[in-house]
Symmetry: D3
Subunit: 135 residues, 6 copies
């Protein structure tokens, strides 16, 4: 009886999409307004989904409070009110697209969740754009 | 051409998370505020998803009205405005965590849906916490 | 330049609608399923709106963090995971309808907000039912 | 590292559910109010999900702007403010149920998305009814 | 202590925006795609808000179940799955814009609500367009 | 018969809350994480509400398409994917709090809307924080 438990969280941040090794013209052609050198930002809505067996003792797959605290310490404290390009080490050389951010979030949480549990991350960059990654 | 048809429904109920065979201290340590002996409650939002072939005659996988009525008779009438611990027989000896509730809902509906169709249940306990089970 | 600043918050609780001085039959006739003696519950979504002049120094009407903390200490800590009838003193002799709850919330917050500011409270009892009070 | 990129879109349209080769009585028995000969309509909310490898150059699976424009030219321009039964060629002989519409949307987009990418379409007919198809 | 009690409801319908006494060209110029002679449609989301004194006996301004049933009998039964232009008598000679629909809803409900209560109607034509009328 | 017509729109931007004439310590004490010198950002959700008489000819208070285009040209084109502090002239010397932004939006639109119409602006900075201004 494997059940998926999901928890929503929230952070907001600034970013710029570009490659340092490309000309400004090429960055503009590929990333358009997202290449603004002065940055823009988003309210990121995050869903962390953990799949595993129900513990017959507690009736929990994972304690939602534990999951909430894990998201806070690993993701919100690291990303909230930050500039992805300038302040989040994982993006020093990585373009902070939604796709790359969702993979980084997965990698940060994967080692904190028991290996017999599956993990899936969904990240809304805007109410109309979102990405999903499950390893 | 297997298509998934999903229907949202709603009920609200009271519950308390605890085990009768544990001390109050242990229940408090594991379940925290959810162990309130006077109960607390939720608006549960339910999504029932049925996957099957489109009937070439009707263009339906399953008639949404039939699915809506089934959810009402099997789930809403049984759970709405009830106390899970005291009034819902399935939870007489089972802790009414979201995980256990979603499995009970699945089991109640599984026998009412044709076996060649897949069934998945998603249950929101709060707008930020939800669980999913597909057998 | 009076601007309204609104903050959303959340708590969940159990309640029962009834009057002790009425017969069970009369309570059933008036309150229906809400008169369940074993209680039922809701996820209450709360919007607290404060209207005042923008402080020209800060650009704030009221610091959202101050408002968030005030809602937590006055409302969430008092109501979350509680049974309104049994555990919240304001409802010892007052029927915990959405209307009465929203007035109690207003009264609890009114004395904590500067008198030159207006206050309005909106309380969702379910996603489809909500009430609003502004004194 | 396969990531799913999803984009939400919107169109509204009129339709009627019925089969020309059935009697009005049979259509009424099967399709109920949806068989209104004068039509009724919906705000359709659409989610198009594309799964593929992250391009290491750009950090994109697919440029959201490209995906947005593709949905506009292929789906919104063809369906928005239209009558499915009378004006959309795919439904000249096909009952415009949500199930059939989601398959038509999939087929229209499938040939425009690289074959190494997976495609999934979710279509909300109302806020409470939705369908999903992935080929 | 005047409190506002609000109830959300839903119906879907087809309509066409045009004036019979205008040329097709003029209708197209003013109403654009909404002048499609084959109709288009919407999921209309409705909020009915009633403001009055809390009844000290019940703690209700108005029983939500009474309000829900009133919306069903007066509005949903009259409009749901209908064609506004062809089947709803109020629009035989009145253009079914959101503005005109919200006024018709107000007028239909006003006579059913006690005169000492205020009434306000909000109608969403799409998730991004809505109108409000309070007499 | 004055009806309010509302249109939702969206933009995202970066900002930093601080005063140039205050020390970094004072800015940190008042604005906390929002004083990050590298900026952070939001998805701003905007509601523009115009109140006026229904034009008996068209049934419109204001053509939603006209309103949508006005919001695009005046607000979205000026603010979307921008840095409020560095790129939006109105905030060269004005702290871009939600309160100040909503007043600037009001002022930019007020002169474009007929004087006999009322205008109200609601701006969501996050899903939980929003502000409203009506002149």
């Amino acid at each position: 009886m494997r059940v998926t438990v999901s928890r929503k969280a929230h952070f907001n941040a600034a970013h710029r999409l570009y490659r340092k090794d490309w000309s400004h013209e090429k960055n503009d052609a590929i990333f358009g307004k997202c290449n603004n050198p002065n940055f823009h930002g988003h309210n990121y809505e995050l869903i962390v989904s953990v799949t595993g067996e129900i513990d017959p003792e507690t009736g929990y797959v994972i304690d939602m409070k534990v999951l909430k605290d894990l998201i806070k310490s690993e993701i919100e404290d690291a990303f909230d009110h930050k500039n992805f390009n300038l302040e989040v080490p994982e993006f020093a050389e990585l373009n902070p697209t939604a796709e790359n951010i969702v993979v980084v979030i997965y990698d940060k949480l994967r080692s904190k969740i028991k290996t017999e549990m599956d993990l899936e991350i969904t990240l809304f960059e805007t109410p109309r754009n979102f990405v999903t990654y499950s390893g």
